[in-house]
């Protein structure tokens, strides 16, 4: 059986690389933590890998806007390699700071065409509260999305840990198109008051931790292979990480791993996808 090779990027203040590498291994991938400069200097080659993960963290301290400087390094020094990776149909995930990086490089939401153009179309900016916060939110996945990462996912609890997670796309038309294309992959919801019709009305704090337009928590590109989100699904890889676990109320999963948490399926989806292509 083919074992998908996962490059977990780190360096310059990325800090969720260890757990992101670990969760891919739990679902049958082979993770390598790769310093961004290894790809840039040619010490390693992005094409050696099947999946690219850009984990959370504080690359360059979020100075000049979260994800900006790391995004620029990738945009200006790794452009061809990234372009090829995407055109080869290989999955990419950006979590938290990784999502910010993918948005600032222009890989998300991405162009209408099939070739990445590295033009920024949206932004992730300071939470309306002005505060960095670590708190749990409920996420609802878009059932009509073609995103390979979120296949079969419906609703999970997850922590957010960011100060700049508000998704903005001031151009109304683009935002509507994003929605119509079903590229809004995952939204913050109030689990006690959610309907298909109210899902785009911006929720109050703290159900929406940041005031994101249309309650956007994560989006994917047109192909469904590039996916980014602010919340941390890797941080709910096990049920004991859920805040309700101590009350005996952590959501269970149907996995063979008895202790599996709700977030792991996202990583399994990508690993299974790569396996299905290569087997």
């Amino acid at each position: 059986m083919y074992i998908p090779k996962v490059a977990v990027l780190f360096g310059f203040g990325i800090n969720c690389d260890h757990e992101t590498a670990a969760v891919f291994e739990m679902v049958g991938g082979k993770s390598t933590r790769v310093h961004l400069n290894s790809f840039i200097t040619g010490l390693d080659d992005l094409s050696n890998y099947d999946i690219l993960a850009v984990p959370g963290g504080f690359s360059f301290g979020d100075h000049l806007g979260s994800g900006r400087l790391m995004g620029n390094r990738m945009r200006f020094s790794l452009r061809d390699e990234l372009s090829k990776f995407i055109q080869d149909g290989k999955p990419i995930i950006g979590i938290c700071n990784g999502f910010q990086v993918l948005v600032k490089t222009g890989l998300l939401p991405g162009p209408d065409g099939n070739e990445p153009d590295f033009i920024q179309r949206a932004s992730l900016t300071l939470n309306d509260s002005g505060r960095y916060e670590d708190r749990w939110v409920t996420l609802e996945f878009n059932q009509d999305s073609n995103c390979i990462w979120t296949k079969g996912m419906t609703r999970i609890d997850c922590p957010v840990r960011h100060g700049e997670g508000k998704y903005v796309m001031p151009d109304k038309e683009s935002l509507t198109k994003l929605s119509n294309n079903n590229q809004i992959t995952v939204r913050y919801i109030d689990p006690n008051n959610y309907t298909e019709t109210n899902r785009d009305e911006v929720l109050p704090f703290p159900q929406s931790p940041n005031g994101s337009m249309m309650n956007i928590a994560g989006i994917s590109d047109k192909t469904g292979l590039v996916f980014g989100l602010m919340p941390h699904p890797e941080a709910i890889y096990a049920q004991w990480l859920h805040p309700d676990f101590t009350r005996g109320a952590a959501p269970k999963t149907e996995s063979e791993i008895s202790w599996e948490g709700q977030g792991l399926q996202i990583f399994r989806n990508a690993v299974d996808y790569v396996k299905s292509i290569n087997d």
Binding site: L64, N72, D134, V168, P170, P243
Partner: protein
């Protein structure tokens, strides 16, 4: 080279906001009740480079501004632009850094600038500023007042335009902060053949913090003929120290580095009992000896006291270490920078343990003046709310950006912390027991000939004299060079790189550059091989012109000192390049017995290693104990306990700190099983942090702490005992394995040396003796070895009658093993029908209790005196803790909460808040006859638990032989009722308690 100004400001429009400006608006509202209609912000960059302004302008939206949400402008200020700032503001304030102060956004911008302009000249630099435009100011405050709340003139500068200037279009323009040139000075020789008074004068004017005896010890060193002849051989002045040597000795011998008070010989008198005795080193007698005794009985105490942190074996594969430090003086002068360097500094202690451990969790404990303080503020210091904000934000940025979760902590308030806040930062580290090359990770393996690298940041003028400065009391003239701002990203890059170097087997020895800089770090490591030779000319500098002594003792941040075998140098350096970390060979280990420092070819310091480390004479001190006198706390006879409960819940020492704690990342690394807040709404207090750091494995670690400074008002011994007991109780509440626990003792004391400026020094030293005697007694009873610790002994502000001394404070941190994080308990009540028990008993110990302070402050009672909580029989309590922990970590008990400030009343209220459920409690038969003792008393050794009816019998079986009293039941209703037999004393609604508990310290400035 030219300066180009680039500014960015948020666009407006539907769904877009100027959040930076709005944060300032809400903060001024929360802290100063200023109600401005709007605050707008501009971020500015001053680029000093050879790149043309036109080129920069063309790329501004690639770097300085986010084109989706921001406008940019080059070589002008937005305030001049009528379309973007269409209404004239009332006040505009621009804040930038002073020259030489760490500017992290500037550093990051420069990095990004080089990505876009790879050919920009090497000495390009970028400085940043931020401009706030205020609207709707009216006569609420003067521009100067507003500015004073926005910047700290020790490290920042502000340019202000008042209303008139704004109307005239006269906008504040901050200019590029040119660093003043530093003058390189050849080492001076200092003649010590002078009078005693002159010796002291040298020490005082040079901020050396050396006493006469120490100065004379140095004097006689240079009289020694063998010393003189060996000095002649290397061509250094024979019979006098150089300034490099004197500074080096001052740093190494400072109280901060050598802990001279804990090592002193104390003649102790107890006027209460008539005892007279001699304590020959508190540290060796009461801390080291007990731990070494325990080390003989267990196999898991791997490394204690001698390294940067204490190491225990967690299992066969992993070891765990922990260290806590304080950063009090810098945090008083610059709360943000001081606290940030505190947290990133203690992270480096972990990285510098053994051959390098990975920091996996932080703890923060702060002691501040009251946040709502109305009285005077000492000259040059800040209001406690400002200190709280600054310290919190420094620790938040330092911890979050380093990717280390903050999982446990506390904030304590008392007026006496106005003069000196206490900022304790702790870090837990994890390392594989064995490295891939087979070496045990907790043992350093340097040898003579190894190359010594300085890794990470560069050396600058900042941070000179930190160690000696913190060994003096704060005054109005305290120096600004002792304050620094940390740079967590530079450190994170270094950390990533060094852990890779460790696993590649490249490191033979590693330590942190903290107090004393290179003189301490290389000096301490040189003890292993008995010698080193340093070349200061090789040390990379932030700016040219630093003199040799400044390079040697500067405490510039983000630096580690690492020894590498010479054959591994190439691999080490290329790894550093990959990570963009600066690593420079600056020294080598020798076995000459000498601390040999050169600047290029010339020798500037030549000190015997032995003299440097063991030459400091032992202090001889006197202590004298007589119990302090207080008016006794006599509880009022008729009072409504309901209103006491509401007031107690709102006391800053008890109130929820959630808005602050939530701003720490407590879940990075995906390991935190018990988070700082628990319960239905995830807003109930957790007693301890529990993490499962090995992914996929539920084996856990428990981290907790205890602190009870106000008990020192009656007896510092009881204060110490209470801190240790609280730390263990908290850990027991989550089910720690009591057979594998280790502790850290961090003492913060007012100056305890009798002198003119400290007339009560003998008493303060007696407090220290009593605290340490109790520490030994309790730790032995709890089989709780202290594996690391620190002391900070000059926590006073000012002199004479206006002197403010902190209450003697011990922070006790604890870390321990947990067999399975799936079996823990938390403080929130779980299900109606659960049976509530009190483990332990309530005695009449209301002295220095929170309720006594409250009723004294509001004039209801005369004093706080009386019996302070004591631990008469810790062995008995340990038995009870062992049983309860077992009941919890075997999964029988799901609810447990420590009973501390505010006693049973507050503890039960918090359990209802966490569970959003009611409870019926009867305090009859829970201890002393006084309802005050049973309801509000703070007797130690008590934990409240709730157990499901089906597990109740098994729980009671496990607890048999230990005092366990039935209190009542969790109820479906939203009502907490507490009775004393037939008499109802409290009946209150859960939501009311939530409101009281959460209101006081919210301080967010209201609605978003």
């Amino acid at each position: 080279m030219q300066i180009t100004r680039v500014e960015a400001t948020p666009k407006s429009g539907e769904g877009l906001r100027d959040v930076r400006g709005d944060v300032v608006r809400r903060r001024l509202k929360a802290d100063h009740n200023l109600d401005f209609t709007k605050v707008r912000s501009i971020v500015g960059f001053l680029i000093n480079s050879d790149i043309d302004a036109t080129l920069i302008s063309e790329r501004a939206d690639d770097l300085f501004a986010d084109p989706i949400i921001e406008f940019s402008t080059t070589n002008q200020t937005f305030l001049q632009s009528n379309n973007i700032f269409d209404t004239i503001p009332d006040v505009v304030i621009s804040v930038g850094f002073k020259p030489g102060v760490t500017d992290n956004p500037g550093k990051a911008a420069l990095d990004g600038f080089r990505t876009i302009f790879p050919n920009a000249s090497q000495d390009s630099d970028i400085s940043t500023y931020i401009t706030y435009a205020f609207y709707g100011v009216g006569d609420q405050a003067t521009p100067d007042f507003i500015a004073s709340k926005l910047y700290n003139n020790l490290i920042e500068r502000a340019v202000i335009s008042d209303n008139e200037m704004c109307n005239n279009g006269d906008w504040p323009m901050i200019e590029y902060p040119e660093k003043p040139p530093q003058e390189f000075k050849q080492p001076a020789h200092i003649d010590l053949e002078i009078s005693d008074d002159e010796l002291i004068e040298i020490s005082e004017t040079g901020l050396l913090a050396l006493n006469l005896e120490e100065m004379k010890t140095i004097q006689s060193h240079y009289r020694d003929e063998t010393i003189q002849s060996s000095r002649k051989e290397v061509g250094i002045v024979e019979n006098q120290p150089t300034d490099v040597e004197l500074e080096c000795l001052a740093q190494t011998w400072s109280e901060h580095c050598k802990h001279k008070i804990f090592a002193s010989k104390i003649h102790h008198k107890d006027l209460e009992t008539g005892e007279e005795s001699v304590v020959d080193s508190i540290f060796k007698t009461h801390i080291m000896k007990p731990t070494h005794d325990m080390q003989k009985e267990v196999d898991w105490l791997l490394s204690v006291f001698h390294d940067n942190s204490g190491v225990i074996a967690w299992d066969d594969e992993w070891s765990v270490c922990m260290k806590a430090e304080t950063h009090n003086s810098p945090s008083a002068l610059d709360p943000y920078g001081g606290a940030m360097t505190g947290i990133v500094g203690v992270n480096r202690d972990i990285l510098g343990t053994g051959l390098g451990a990975r920091p996996i969790a932080n703890t923060d404990v702060f002691c501040f003046g009251p946040p709502d303080w109305q009285g005077d503020i000492p000259e040059n210091l800040f209001h406690p709310s400002r200190v709280l904000r600054g310290v919190h934000s420094g620790v938040r940025v330092g911890g979050n950006e380093s990717g280390i979760p903050t999982i446990n902590g506390a904030i304590v308030f008392d007026e006496r912390y106005l003069g000196k806040p206490l900022v304790y930062c702790g870090t837990v580290g994890l390392m594989p027991r064995k490295l891939p090359d087979g070496r045990e990770s907790h043992i350093k393996t340097p040898s003579s000939g190894d190359v010594v690298y300085m890794v990470g940041g560069r050396v600058g003028y900042d941070g000179i004299h930190g160690a000696t400065f913190s060994s003096l009391e704060l005054t109005e003239e305290s120096p600004s060079s002792a304050v620094q701002i940390g740079d967590p990203i530079t450190q994170k890059k270094m950390l990533d790189m060094l852990l890779e170097a460790r696993d590649a087997g490249l490191i033979t020895c590693i330590t942190d550059n903290g107090a004393g800089g290179l003189s301490s770090s290389i000096g301490e490591m040189a003890e292993y091989t008995n010698g080193c030779r340093i070349d200061l000319a090789k040390v990379p500098l932030k700016q040219p012109g630093l003199s040799p002594w400044e390079i040697l003792v500067s405490e510039s941040q983000e630096r580690m000192t690492v020894a590498v075998k010479s054959e591994d140098s190439v691999a080490f350096e290329s790894l550093a390049r990959l990570h963009e970390v600066e690593a420079t060979a600056v020294a080598e280990f020798t076995s000459t017995g000498m601390f040999h420092v050169q600047y290029d070819e010339s020798t500037v310091a030549y000190l015997p290693i032995e003299f440097l480390h063991d030459g400091v004479p032992q202090l001889q001190l006197e202590s004298e104990w007589s119990p302090p006198q207080h008016a006794t706390f006599v509880p009022p006879t008729s009072i409504d306990h309901n209103s006491i409960l509401m007031d107690m819940l709102a006391r800053p020492n008890i109130a929820s700190k959630e808005t602050w704690v939530r701003q720490y990342d407590h879940e990075v690394i995906a390991q935190t099983a018990v988070k700082p807040f628990v319960g239905v709404e995830r807003d109930g207090p957790a007693d301890a942090g529990v993490i499962a750091p090995i992914h996929g494995n539920p084996r856990g670690l428990v981290i907790s702490c205890g602190i009870a400074p106000r008990y020192s008002d009656i007896d510092a011994g009881a204060m110490a005992a209470a801190a240790i007991d609280e730390a263990l109780r908290n850990a027991v509440c989550v089910g720690v394995d009591v057979n594998k626990i280790a502790g850290l003792d961090n003492f913060c004391w007012p100056d305890p040396i009798q002198s003119e400026k400290t007339p009560d020094g003998k008493f303060k030293l007696a407090q220290l003796v009593r605290a340490n005697r109790e520490l030994e007694r309790i730790c032995r009873a709890y089989r709780l070895p202290c594996v690391s610790g620190k002391d900070s002994m000059k926590n006073d502000y000012g002199k004479g009658a206006n002197k403010i001394s902190i209450p003697p404070t011990l922070l006790f941190s604890l870390f321990g093993d947990h067999p399975d994080v799936r079996n823990t308990a938390t403080s929130d009540f779980k299900s109606p029908g659960d049976r509530i028990y009190l483990v332990g008993e309530s005695l009449n110990e209301l002295g220095a209790s929170e309720v006594s302070f409250m009723l004294k402050e509001n004039g209801t009672c005369d004093g706080i005196g009386g019996t302070v909580p004591n631990l008469d029989n810790p062995e008995k309590l340990f038995k009870s803790y062992s049983a309860l922990s077992k009941a919890i970590n075997s999964g029988l008990v799901k609810t447990a909460h420590d009973c501390s400030e505010g006693g049973v009343g507050v503890a039960v209220a918090e359990m209802c808040i966490g569970g959003r459920t009611g409870a019926n409690i009867d305090l009859d038969g829970t201890g002393d006859e006084s309802i005050w003792a049973r309801l509000w008393g703070e007797s130690l050794g008590r934990i409240i638990i709730a157990v499901s009816p089906e597990n109740e019998k098994q729980f009671l079986d496990i607890m048999s032989g230990n005092i366990t009293t039935y209190l009542g039941e969790v109820t479906e209703s939203q009502l907490l009722t507490i009775s004393d037999g037939y008499e109802e004393v409290i009946s209150t609604n859960v939501q009311q308690m939530v409101d009281s508990w959460q209101g006081t310290l919210d301080m967010t400035g209201g609605e978003i």
